[in-house]
Symmetry: C2
Subunit: 255 residues, 2 copies
DNA sequence: TCCTATAGTTTGTCCGACAATCGCCATCGG
DNA sequence: CCGATGGCGATTGTCGGACAAACTATAGGA
């Protein structure tokens, strides 16, 4: 007959982890608000009663998680995790898992359509102004693939923002980050790619302005199908996302 | 007249960051494969020519990013970032950004419908077996809200897995993690909730088996609308996700 | 052959130290 | 009076060394 358990398993975690968890708890349950300063390392040493090296390891964990940052003077304060930084983690994971462009395409079709539906329904005047501004800049750089690809990425971020749905905004970001580099390649390789891209954006803005959901969905589909056709001219949809993409993700993360 | 800038800002990163970046680069571009051992700390000290404390701070960064792990003997090796761990980062971010249940609901409607569509199209026999097994367990615990909520969460993970689309799988995870705790509350508060939930799962499995896309979408919608109706009995959709959710996310992350 | 005791490694933590940098403040010159 | 300059304390990034606990591996004993 087995003995009735007298003791619960004790929580044995390294000290630096406990430090990180303790600070994280205070932030997520709101006792420390975004922007609030965390103490200096020396002060944390006093509060937690552990060595500064231990404190610093804990700080690295939180910093990487995006919960705390160092301002210009390197002092610590809590902050809201940035979507793009977290999303680049996911992009990196997707690359490592060797997802295919087909998966990327299918998921983006869903996510971008959902974004435009939300945008059509809830975009504000300010959202429209941002989109128009982006369109103007796109038209100015239609001959420069790198700049145009950047504008395209920003455009779709703005559409997602206009949907007023931050969950959607976040969900689409990882796939979008992986799309970005291919857009440049496609616009470079396909002559009519640039103008078609800008035209699609113009129709999308128009659809949002007129609250025309059908048109929004239609042009989003076309826009993505354009991407697909362009992509298939240079590679197979079933190829896995290349490792070179990580450069973009890394650059985005450092921002 | 402003001077033409003679110099670019120089990239001065702390040593621990450079260590982390260097190791990350080797992993993401494939020179170090998942599972490969990273050296011991002492060895990294030799290779990078910096102090062990510096190496350790770099390691914490990579560990938190999910790129490296310590096995049972605490030795370092590269690994594929786990979806659930990364997703819990995102869940945490969503909580801190105080997203509303309405955003969660709308995004999930899109993501879960996309998942079922993929599952209907591409589910394997093995996927179906897993789903059936989950259903059997759900039926056994229909009276236990906590266990049933857990089964429900797993069910939808399995559906997403059956879609064979890892981008989608990853995209839906953060929102799903935030849903999970409410399911328990709803099943506790609404008597017919448990049986309805299990019935929906049964219909979903049947739809996947028959490759009946319409039925799959229909029952997914109903399933989510059930959640919504149940939720609105206890709170408003426009309430922001509560801080208490973090307990679940934290527990999931530690796994 | 299987088990155990011992030695060597590795990690987690601590201590103390120092240079570089930043914020602050007083001083100096126009 | 105002802006530039320089000193001073505080803070961070890095370093070297140290030690206990936990683990691996190896050799010796039943």
């Amino acid at each position: 007959m087995p003995l009735a358990p007298l003791f619960r398993p004790i929580d044995v975690a390294p000290a630096y982890q406990k430090v990180a968890d303790a600070i994280e708890r205070e932030i997520v349950n709101g006792r420390i608000k975004p922007g609030d300063p965390i103490g200096t390392e020396h002060e944390l040493v006093r509060q937690f009663g552990v060595n500064r090296s231990t404190i610093r390891e804990g700080i690295r964990v939180l910093e990487e998680g995006g919960l705390i940052r160092r301002d210009s003077s390197r002092r610590l304060h809590a902050c809201l995790p940035r979507y793009t930084k977290l999303a680049s983690r996911l992009s990196r994971a997707l690359v490592l898992h060797e997802v295919t462009f087909r998966e990327l395409y299918e998921a983006s079709m869903t996510l971008e359509v959902a974004s435009i539906e939300g945008a059509v329904e809830r975009a504000t005047e300010e959202n429209l102004a941002e989109l128009s501004d982006n369109l103007a800049r796109s038209e100015a750089v239609v001959g420069d693939p790198a700049m145009l690809a950047e504008c395209d990425a920003e455009f779709h971020v703005l559409v997602a923002k206009a949907s007023q749905n931050r969950v959607l905004q976040l969900a689409r970001e990882p796939a979008a980050q992986l799309f970005y580099p291919t857009t440049e390649m496609i616009v470079t390789g396909v002559v009519e790619g640039g103008p078609r891209l800008v035209a699609a954006h113009r129709h999308l803005i128009e659809a949002i302005r007129r609250r025309d959901r059908e048109a929004g969905v239609l042009w989003t589909r076309r826009h993505l199908q354009d991407w697909r056709r362009g992509f298939e001219k240079i590679a197979s949809l079933d190829r896995s996302v290349e490792h070179m993409y990580m450069e973009h993700a890394q650059a985005a993360r450092r921002r």
